[in-house]
């Protein structure tokens, strides 16, 4: 060894840092002293990489629970977000059908809703029906796809049936939202009929519908149409 300066000596001392315990011994000793690392019961091999997977599971679980939630429940927000995200992919022509389906879902919810959820569910129904009316005014019935028109008619029919069911249960939903919807759907159907070659019988129905529409009897006009369908 050459003559050592203090700096060299300190450098040589620092080389002793190479002395290290074996890694397996370090781990084993730790386990012997502290016991096994506590692990998450359902995920014994819980590692940061699993966090993403667990988050997905939780998310799916939440969606599952949210599916059965009612307006007024904390999880209903998730259900609403799902609905709204679906609405993004619906064409403007099909939008009234989509909103009518939502309105029907809310009416179905009403039948099983406990007292605390009644008011929020009715509000949601009114919001959907209002949206359906707005969307209907944007669709040109004369050029609209007959399949879409049929879907609108089917959903409207269901809506009326559900309303009837609710009435039999003692829940009567009234308001300008329903009236506006009736007006919008009757107007749409009149335009649709006007663009078609009709039988004599259908001509009479159309004439009667127009009369009722002008008198502001939208509900009766709609009923007339549905009966003669």
């Amino acid at each position: 060894m050459v003559e050592l300066t203090e700096k060299n000596l300190i450098g040589k001392i620092k080389e002793l840092r190479q002395i290290k315990p074996r890694k397996d011994w370090v781990c084993l000793t730790k386990t012997q002293i502290l016991g096994e690392e506590p692990t998450f019961f359902l995920f014994p091999y819980f590692k940061p990489a699993s966090v993403g997977l667990i988050a997905i599971f939780i998310l799916f679980g939440l969606f599952g629970f949210a599916k059965n939630s009612l307006p007024g429940d904390p999880l209903y927000t998730i259900r609403k977000i799902v609905h709204e995200s679906r609405a993004v992919f619906v064409s403007p022509e099909e939008k009234p059908v989509f909103q009518l389906k939502l309105a029907n879902d809310r009416l179905k919810d009403l039948t099983k809703a406990p007292a605390k959820n009644l008011a929020p569910t009715i509000n949601e129904f009114q919001a959907s029906i209002s949206e359906a009316a707005k969307d209907l005014t944007k669709v040109d019935a004369t050029t609209s796809n007959p399949i879409v028109t049929q879907k609108i008619v089917d959903e409207t029919k269901k809506l009326k049936e559900n309303e009837e069911k609710m009435r039999s249960l003692g829940v009567v939903i009234e308001g300008e939202e329903i009236e506006n919807f009736n007006k919008a759907v009757v107007e749409y159907l009149i335009k649709d009929l006007e663009g078609m070659s009709l039988t004599e019988e259908k001509e009479i129905v159309l004439k009667e519908m127009k009369k009722l529409f002008e008198e502001g009897k939208y509900s009766e006009a709609l009923e007339l149409y549905l009966i003669n369908q």
Binding site: M1, L9, K20, P21, W25, K30, G35
Partner: protein
Amino acid sequence: MANPRKKFSKIYDTHIEKIYRFIYLKVNSEEIAQDLCSETFLKGWESFKNNQNIENPSAFLYRIARNLVTDYYRQKGRTQIVSTEFTPITDPNPSLEERMTLNSDLEQIKTALVDLKEDYQNVIIWHYLDDLPIPEIAKMLNKSEENTRVFLHRALKALKNKLNNLV
């Protein structure tokens, strides 16, 4: 308040290498260093479970390790009294193999360090290997900072002399 197991696990991870090396440089045997090191942490954990407000975990673990090393040499001193019949006759002049080993710088430093008095060993290991600052070492040695600096200087000089004698 954090889980004591988790807290001690962190202390273990931070100090295991330093404490092992500290012990190893004193006993010069992997097996004995492992035994004494695991005993250090076991005793540390037992104390920690009862009192988690340990101000300086480093000083606390080094104190346990030092006591265990002292106990080990005390015990070794007692048990090593064996008949001279079985004591190997050692050649005062190192063999070629021993000379080769000694030629390694690392081995020379190690040998010289082990040959120093205990407090000199400690102060060199703590300051130059474990990067403990002078104020902390001063507290562990129960000396003033100025005295610790002088002590460290003397320790370094003693190590240099030992190394010069080895060559």
